[in-house]
């Protein structure tokens, strides 16, 4: 049963990867990376159960916590052009 779910997640990973490769805009790529992160959380959780050592979910927990950082960095990069500014300050980049 875990196998079926793993296959589903792997297929979705393949689809997300396709979107990252096709992605007409850069935002599509970011979206694909974001989605890929969630799928990695799932596949790691499923792998824990598949291999019979489900106590290694810490890794999935870590991804659930910090996948967010990459997306935020991208947001700042696009909206402000640098990474050091406060988010609601100023309009344009340097």
């Amino acid at each position: 049963m875990f196998g079926v779910a793993s296959v589903a997640v792997l297929v979705t990973m393949a689809l997300a990867l396709t979107r990252a490769l096709l992605g007409p805009t850069v935002y599509d790529r970011v979206l694909a990376v974001n989605m890929f992160g969630t799928k990695t959380v799932l596949i790691i959780a499923l792998l824990g159960f598949l291999t019979g050592r489900p106590d290694f979910l810490d890794l999935a927990l870590l991804y659930a916590l910090i996948n967010f950082i990459g997306t935020l960095a991208v947001l700042k990069f696009f909206e402000y052009g640098d990474l050091s500014r406060r988010l609601d300050q100023g309009e344009a980049g340097p």
Binding site: T51, G52, R53, F56
Partner: protein
């Protein structure tokens, strides 16, 4: 079955060669650094796959369990530190790229060499 046992190595070699190709054929310095990272990662995965034992489990001892096969912890230790060192050295390389951009105004390798080869006076 022989092919199954070697498939992993082939992929590692492929990845390593892709990284190598980026490194020697692309002129953009950031791209070269990415190629270097791919090269590095292929070595990491190669090491880890050497330590894997089929049917084994992660080398964290299970209390009171008999006859559990653990994977080899030694490659894990080597690669664990290598990943952190890898990102630090990548940061140094990126800092160099930033300085090169500031000094030359470009990060394309051929333009930099062209500027270097101009006769100054």
């Amino acid at each position: 079955m022989r092919v199954l046992g070697l498939y992993n190595y082939w992929i590692f070699i492929f990845l390593m060669m892709v990284g190598f190709y980026i490194l020697i054929s692309r002129r953009n310095l950031v791209k070269k650094i990415l190629g270097l990272n791919i090269f590095q990662t292929s070595v990491f995965i190669f090491y880890i796959s050497m330590g894997k034992i089929t049917g084994g489990t992660a080398p964290i001892l299970v209390e009171g369990a008999e006859a559990v096969v653990y994977s080899n912890p030694l490659p894990h230790v080597l690669i664990l530190t290598a990943i952190v060192v890898g990102v630090s050295t990548t940061a140094v390389a990126l800092a160099l790229v930033v300085r090169i951009k500031e000094a030359y105004g470009t990060i394309e390798g051929d333009e930099i060499s062209a500027m270097d080869n101009q006769i100054p006076f």
